[in-house]
């Protein structure tokens, strides 16, 4: 026996793996699976598409451009870059209840937040509250690292170009033109992770002291620690408007959440009526052909309004059903060649 073993010392092992006999499932594109599969997928898609389409349609959106390109536009006067501290007012009316919660967005177009050089121009460590980077911001922030030899905090192009138009919404109440301000809620417009983890103020009290020896971004009118005079927890790097801005957009046309309308009489939504939006117009976009707009919208389970998904599902569902018919015809006509 021992001798036998020795003689076949080189005999390969007889396992399913070495002999390539592993049990396996060998699927095949047979008509019996493909055609019903297509029909099923098609029907499912049409179903999903219908639901998506209807729910997207149910979302109310009100979009207003206030760039002021046209002369008759309310903000035309402000579009001149030489005019400072300009305030303009957009009048609009709502026919039926704009169901709440209503979100107010500002939108920019032709704005390349996704340009690579723009995108890298920030300092994560500084924004994380690391004081050493207050003194010497990272080179990635170029060209906004130093201003007159003082380090810029927060440094970089993104921070520097923060959107600084502000809005106030009034509803005309009664006939005499009394205006009632619609309360905006600026809390919880940024991601929880951004607010709590990604961005952090230095743990210096008061916050102002941390910024000693630094300067504010060139385009900013206020320093970072006094962005929101009403709420000390909304200042510095965790100011929610700042956070929203810093989450740069993927595409050159984008919207960013400005405020939520959740409080008081407007918790149920914006009732029908006339409204006026008071805009302090600061942000220059005309020089690069950009547009600014405000958008009021509510949301559904599928997020904001986007009809594309619903339509795409419908179209592809229909296509599947159609293709299954074509395949059925081909299958019936050609069958499978039984023998070569």
């Amino acid at each position: 026996m021992v001798k036998d073993e020795k003689e076949s010392a080189n005999r390969p092992d007889n396992t399913a793996f070495t002999q390539q006999r592993l049990p396996a499932w060998q699927p095949m594109l047979s008509a019996g699976i493909i055609i019903p599969g297509f029909v099923l997928i098609g029907l499912a898609f049409i179903g999903i598409g219908v639901v998506l389409f209807i729910s997207s349609r149910s979302i109310q959106v009100l979009e207003m451009d206030y760039t002021g390109v046209e002369q008759k536009s309310a903000c035309f006067k402000c579009s001149d870059p030489t005019v400072k501290d300009c305030i303009c007012s957009l009048e609009f009316s709502i026919d039926s209840l704009f169901k709440g919660p209503v979100f107010m967005y500002y939108g920019l177009s032709n704005y390349f937040q996704n340009y690579r050089r723009y995108g890298v121009s920030k300092d994560y460590n500084q924004l994380y509250g690391d004081l050493t980077y207050f003194k010497t911001p990272s080179d990635t922030c170029a060209p906004y690292v130093y201003d007159k030899n003082k380090p810029i905090v927060p440094c970089g192009s993104i921070a520097n170009s923060m959107f600084n138009d502000t809005f106030r919404l009034y509803q005309s109440v009664g006939t005499n033109g009394t205006k009632k301000q619609v309360p905006f809620d600026g809390k919880g417009i940024a991601w929880w992770t951004d607010y709590n983890i990604k961005y952090r103020n230095p743990s210096v009290v008061p916050l102002m002291d941390a910024f000693n020896g630094t300067t504010k971004p060139i385009f900013w009118s206020k320093t970072a620690y006094e962005l929101d005079p009403t709420d000390p927890n909304n200042n510095g790097f965790i100011n929610e408007d700042f956070l929203v801005w810093m989450r740069r957009a993927a595409l050159p046309d984008f919207r960013k959440l400005y405020r939520r309308i959740t409080a008081g009489d407007y918790a149920e939504g914006l009732p029908a009526g006339n409204y006026s939006l008071e805009i302090s117009y600061n942000y220059p976009v005309l020089s690069f052909g950009g547009r600014k707009k405000v958008v009021f919208s509510n949301v559904s389970w599928m997020g904001g309004r986007n009809e594309f998904l619903g339509i795409a599902y419908l179209v592809i569902g229909a296509l599947c059903v159609f293709m299954s018919i074509v395949m059925l015809i081909v299958y019936a006509k050609f069958k499978f060649p039984d023998d070569e």
């Binding site: 005999r11 095949m28 989450r247 595409l251 309004r305 592809i316 395949m327």
Partner: protein, 1209 residues
């Protein structure tokens, strides 16, 4: 000397002539000849890293990634972090380095082992045991029996008479028969006397080191006399001393300067056709990459010009950057981003897949030969997929198709045929392993390995049938076999050809034991009685005579001539009285030949004493004349070999290996053309051709080309072609040809109706291979189903292979077992060695080796086909997944100002090829099979797509690219449209860059994984695990990297914190993923379905069949033994060289003959220049020198070391 591994030895001017003096190290020192230390390793401890890295970066792919790395550290250009390139590059480099290191360690080990062998050297008048590496030129060393020759030596003296030594040259040329070397008498007189040897101060002048194994020129000056030296006095390193107690030699060349080492040229690196295609494609891809980058750079230029200048309020340009400069930088930035079209992991994965498939070959139990415990071996791991594309197989005959074992199978004695077994009813039985064998126990000297099944013959011997006795007596006497009897009764025959061995062994077993011979006597044991026959003459074999005879005097004093030879020749010389017997025997001969046996006819004649004496006198005169000696001898032989009496005929089976006919049939069904290239004679080759099913009776015609001039050969070839295809005769040299690359024309295959065979003779082949006829030859040969070239030299074998390689765009495979096949094995795209008995040379230079020819069908039809299929699927899918990945960046460029912004997270880019998609595709390429091996055999046609390059070609590649283009469009624009101006269900951002990146990369991963699922036709547990595991890993890694913890550790490396949590909890994100996945897959499924039904491929058909059968197909019917009824008859079967008769009678072969050394015999007549012809007999009708290309016997250094290490000593 070589501290840094670089052999930075002095550059000495080329040696013109070698001068050395024996026993004089001081004298030899100034010449700085190499010592006997050898070094095949490349690196040492210190040089490994720099040298290895240097080598690796010479590879274009590695250099390319190094270049990318350099680009990435330039801040203006860097669009990706350095780690995206460094991580894979380091991985690849270290894997390769580890492999190189282990290889080199092995080489070091074998170097050490060889260098530290001991040998006895004469130093200070004493023999001392020294290491091999300390041997120097000019030393005198003593070798003992069975030792390896240490260096190239001049033989000085030996223990044997006449200063002969016997050597085995298997390591050098694979021939196992012993060869003889003889020392000069003047040095031979030194004998074993230490004093004399120590005083020996001969000076040798000889040629400088070279690699010619068969030639040596030099002179020895000793005691004022000059003696010429030639190859006969030289022992080459690598030989083994046999049958010689000891010998002394003078070292002429040592270590790296020995002929063996000079032959250690590196083997040319073989690449597969897929490799070459891949190189072309990679170049195309580089071009395409440059094209894409240019487009994007131009786009960037215009963007900067129109929008960028305006956008400078928010994004000022660095000083001095204008649009053009920005475009320039963008170009390079995009080179970095889009580099994934040529991913570094491609090359690594390809190697892994090949390695895996090589392991399958080694692991295959169905290619394991139990009898000598040899598994198949994949010696090269880089050629696997080419095994699935073989179009031409060039096969050696002896030892490859046949076992090179001759068995005495049948005989016809006095009109009675023996050898068949019949049952009670008189029905002939098939002889199998279980058939009862004849018991030879009555004969103590019988060879136990000899088998015979017909009891009648033994009965006849025992009954003392005189004809039967005469028959075997003839076989025991008429031959040139040498017997060696080490211990009493244990006989070992050294036969010059296996046929002779078989005949003598047969006689031995039937009671006529050839025991020993001296130059003038033969002793045999006849039925237990010792008898000594006086050997009076050997009428030797030659090609014209085709017979040999001996004249002997029996102990009783009776003179007889015994003759054996080819039937036609002997029949002419028979006495009329045997005419009746002739008829019966002819019938038997036809029957034997019909079964593919080699036949010989035996005849004898009693001689008259007087006549013989007179003849002997004339013979003596003739053999001493100087002119026309051959002719005169022939006449004399002719005269005496007549009026012979027929004894009978023998039938020897040149045993085919198991399953050869079936294999050949299978391969030809797979449209593989088989050419047999053999050194054998035409008749033998043709015969084997029939018995192994290569040539068939049903063939329309078998052309035989055997003309002796260029024009005649051309004409014969042309005639053959006219016969096959009348229309295409004249102008077909200029038939559809395509220009290929370097101006070489590719000849298209002609389509021929009917089956034809071609047999071409060696001398005709020499003409056919001349450049003016070679196309004619190739065209004709390729129209035939089977081609047999006989009497081919090793060089010609390689030339034939080269010819086909040159004009046919086809993959060739050469299979052989002997040293004479080495050249062809190296020349062909794939060389396969049969690990048989005939030395290791063929195996050592082969790419694959196994023990039996029949394994070839499994290697090709199963392993080759699968490897090819897997590799093609892998490449198609791999390019698809990377193109898709990369093209998305291209589309995104139009929306991000051509700023080289990546779509995905950088970590995703780093890990995509390395982690997320590596295992599933590897799993597919290691496990996939369309149909299992049984079905592969059942439908050899499945092999054809590989030959036609159908699975992966430029067209397939282009389709891949288009498919990727579609997928990338879907993968970019569906998320784009779905996310456009939308928000999360709590109103927050979801269209930001990071969420978009996450969405796109998730869509991408789903799409490519599902696509993989459709590519894969064999889902094992492992595959499923890999696919699902990779997806799971993606989510695990993504969530981990986007987690708070990672961010807190390295805020700037993991900026995507929270993205996964915030976006993957959204319904619309998942709906988008679902939509893109389905949309990517639907057209593929539809297309496949329609293709399968509208124009199904052979694979589709077979797979459909398999599906229908569900169960295993019935085992293929066992083929009955093929019996031919033709009258083709083998000729004189011996693959025999002339001149052995002389040797036998001269006694040179015999150990310790009675003659003493001083008898004067030593200086007898000049011998005919004994040069063993063996199987590698040279042959060159055109007068070209043989082996002008010495690569014939090259071995790579590594291989050589194996060969030196291996032999069981």
């Amino acid at each position: 000397m070589s501290f840094f591994g670089l052999d930075c030895v002095r550059k000495k001017e080329r040696e013109q002539e070698r001068k050395l003096r024996a026993n004089d190290r001081e004298y030899n020192l100034p010449f700085r000849y190499a010592t006997n230390a050898i070094k095949t390793s490349k690196y040492n401890f210190f040089s490994f890293l720099p040298l290895n890295l240097f080598e690796q970066f010479q590879r274009i792919a590695n250099a390319y990634f190094l270049f990318l790395l350099v680009l990435q550290v330039i801040p203006q250009i860097s669009s990706l972090s350095w780690f995206t390139t460094v991580v894979p590059l380091v991985l690849v480099l270290s894997v390769t380095a580890a492999k190189d290191a282990t290889d080199d360690i092995n080489r070091h080990r074998s170097d050490n082992q060889v260098n530290n062998r001991k040998v006895q050297v004469l130093i200070d008048r004493k023999l001392r045991s020294e290491k091999w590496m300390d041997i120097q030129v000019g030393d005198i060393i003593k070798l003992e029996n069975n030792q390896f020759v240490t260096a190239d030596l001049l033989l000085l003296s030996s223990s044997e008479p006449l200063n002969l030594v016997y050597i085995e040259t298997a390591e050098l040329d694979g021939e196992t028969n012993l060869k003889v070397r003889q020392a000069l008498p003047v040095t031979g007189d030194l004998g074993g006397d230490m004093e004399k040897l120590a005083d020996f101060n001969g000076e040798v002048r000889c040629e400088p080191p070279n690699n010619r194994l068969d030639r040596f020129t030099g002179t020895l000056t000793y005691a004022g006399q000059k003696y010429p030296l030639d190859n006969e006095k030289i022992l080459l390193r690598g030989c083994t001393l046999r049958n010689t107690e000891w010998c002394f030699g003078l070292v002429l060349f040592a270590g790296p300067e020995t002929k063996l080492m000079q032959n250690c040229g590196r083997t040319t690196f073989k690449r597969t056709s897929i490799d070459r295609l891949m190189n072309v494609l990679v170049l195309c891809i580089f071009g395409f990459l440059a094209f894409m980058c240019t487009i994007l750079a131009i786009g960037n230029y215009f963007w900067e010009l129109h929008k960028g200048t305006e956008f400078t309020i928010f994004l000022p340009r660095p000083d001095g950057n204008d649009a053009a400069f920005s475009a320039f930088l963008t170009f390079w930035s995009y080179v970095i981003i889009l580099n994934t079209v040529v991913p570094i992991s491609l090359y690594v994965s390809v190697e892994i897949i090949r390695l895996g498939n090589s392991f399958y070959i080694e692991w295959d139990r169905k290619m394991y030969y139990a009898r000598n415990d040899t598994p198949a071996e994949a010696r090269t791991t880089t050629l696997n997929e080419e095994l699935g594309q073989i179009k031409y197989v060039f096969s050696d005959k002896t030892g490859t198709l046949t076992q090179n074992i001759m068995t005495f199978n049948k005989c016809s004695i006095n009109g009675k045929s023996y050898g068949d077994v019949y049952d009670y009813t008189g029905q002939r039985l098939e002889i199998t392993e279980h058939t009862e064998t004849v018991d030879f126990s009555f004969n103590p000297l019988a060879d136990p390995r000899f088998m015979f099944h017909d009891h009648a013959l033994v009965e006849a011997v025992k009954l003392e049938n005189p004809e039967v006795h005469a028959f075997f007596r003839l076989l025991a006497l008429c031959h040139t076999v040498m017997a060696e009897e080490k211990t009493e009764g244990e006989l070992l025959y050294q036969a010059q050809s296996p046929d002779e061995g078989a005949l003598v062994t047969a006689a031995r077993n039937f009671g006529f034991v050839f025991r020993s011979r001296t130059p003038d006597s033969i002793s045999i044991v006849e039925m237990g009685k010792q008898r000594s026959y006086e050997l009076l003459a050997i009428l030797d074999f030659n090609n014209v005579r085709k017979r040999m005879s001996v004249i002997v005097r029996s102990p009783e004093g009776k003179l007889s001539l015994y003759c054996k030879g080819a039937d036609t020749i002997i029949y002419e010389r028979l006495h009329q009285s045997c005419s009746k017997l002739m008829d019966v025997t002819t019938e038997h001969l036809n029957e034997f030949a019909g079964e593919g046996l080699r036949t010989l006819v035996l005849a004898y004649k009693d001689l008259d004493e007087e006549y013989f004496n007179q003849w002997k006198q004339r013979h003596h005169e003739a053999s001493t004349t100087l002119e026309d000696r051959e002719d005169k001898l022939d006449q004399l032989y002719e005269e005496i070999e007549k009026d012979l009496l027929l004894l009978g005929a023998t039938a020897i089976e040149d045993k085919l290996q198991d399953g050869v006919p079936q294999t050949i049939e299978q391969l030809s069904k797979a449209d593989i053309k088989i050419w047999v290239l053999t050194g054998d004679k035409q008749e033998t080759a043709e015969n084997i051709g029939y018995s192994c099913n290569l040539l068939r009776e049903e063939m329309n015609e078998v052309f035989i080309i055997s003309a002796n001039s260029l024009e005649d050969v051309r004409q014969e070839l042309r005639n053959a072609r006219t016969c096959m295809k009348p229309a295409a005769a004249e102008n077909s040299v200029f038939l559809p040809e395509r220009i290929l690359g370097k101006g070489v024309k590719v000849v298209a295959d002609d389509v021929v109706n009917g089956e034809y065979g071609l047999v071409i003779n060696g001398h005709s082949l020499a003409y056919a291979l001349e450049s003016s006829v070679e196309q004619e030859f190739l065209n004709t040969a390729c129209m035939c189903k089977a081609v047999i070239c006989c009497r081919v030299t090793p060089l010609q074998k390689a030339q034939v292979v080269e010819l086909v390689k040159k004009y046919k765009q086809a993959v060739t495979l050469a299979i052989g077992d002997g040293a004479n096949d080495v050249s062809m094995i190296k020349a062909a795209h794939i060389g396969v060695g049969i690990s048989g008995q005939e030395g290791m040379q063929a195996v050592l230079s082969s790419d694959y080796s196994f023990a039996q020819f029949r394994f070839l069908q499994r290697l090709l039809l199963v392993h080759g086909r699968w490897s090819y299929l897997r590799m093609c699927k892998f490449l198609r899918y791999f390019f698809y997944k990377n193109f898709t990945f990369t093209f998305v960046h291209f589309w995104y460029a139009f929306f991000c100002g051509f700023s080289a912004q990546t779509v995905y997270d950088q970590w995703f880019i780093t890990l995509y090829n390395l982690m997320y998609t590596a295992l599933p595709v590897l799993g597919m390429s290691l496990f996939d099979q369309d149909v299992n091996d049984v079905w592969s055999f059942q439908h050899p046609q499945l092999y054809v797509p590989g030959q036609l390059n159908l699975y992966f070609s430029k067209k397939a590649f282009f389709k891949c690219a288009l498919h990727s283009c579609y997928s990338s469009l879907v993968l970019f624009f569906i998320p784009y449209a779905a996310m456009y101006n939308t928000v999360r269900d709590d109103g927050k951002d979801v269209a930001d860059y990071q969420s978009f990146a996450l969405l796109t990369q998730t869509c991408l991963l789903f799409a490519v994984s599902i696509q993989l699922g459709f590519e894969m036709s064999y889902w094992t547990v492992v595959n499923t695990f890999f696919v699902l595991g990779s997806l799971a890993m993606y989510f695990a890694v993504t969530f981990a990297m986007y987690s708070d913890g990672m961010f807190l550790m390295l805020p700037s490396a993991f900026p995507f914190i929270g993205t996964a949590r915030n976006s993957l909890n959204q319904t619309n994100v998942w709906l988008t993923i679902f939509l893109t996945s389905i949309l990517c897959i639907l057209p593929v499924v539809t297309y496949r379905f329609l293709m399968v039904h509208l124009c199904p491929t052979i694979n589709d058909k077979v797979m459909f069949k398999v599906r229908q059968a569900k169960a295993m197909p019935p085992p293929p019917p066992r083929r009955a033994r093929i019996r031919r009824t033709s009258s083709r008859r083998s000729g004189y079967a011996f693959s025999h060289a002339q001149g052995y008769g002389d040797l036998v009678t001269s006694g040179r072969f015999l150990r310790r003959p009675a003659v003493s050394r001083s008898s004067g015999f030593a200086h007898g007549r000049p011998t005919t220049g004994f040069s063993p012809m063996g199987r590698s007999a040279g042959y060159s009708p055109t007068g070209r020198p043989q082996n002008t290309k010495t690569p014939d016997v090259e071995v790579t250094s590594l291989q050589m070391y194996r060969s030196i290490r291996d032999p069981a000593l």
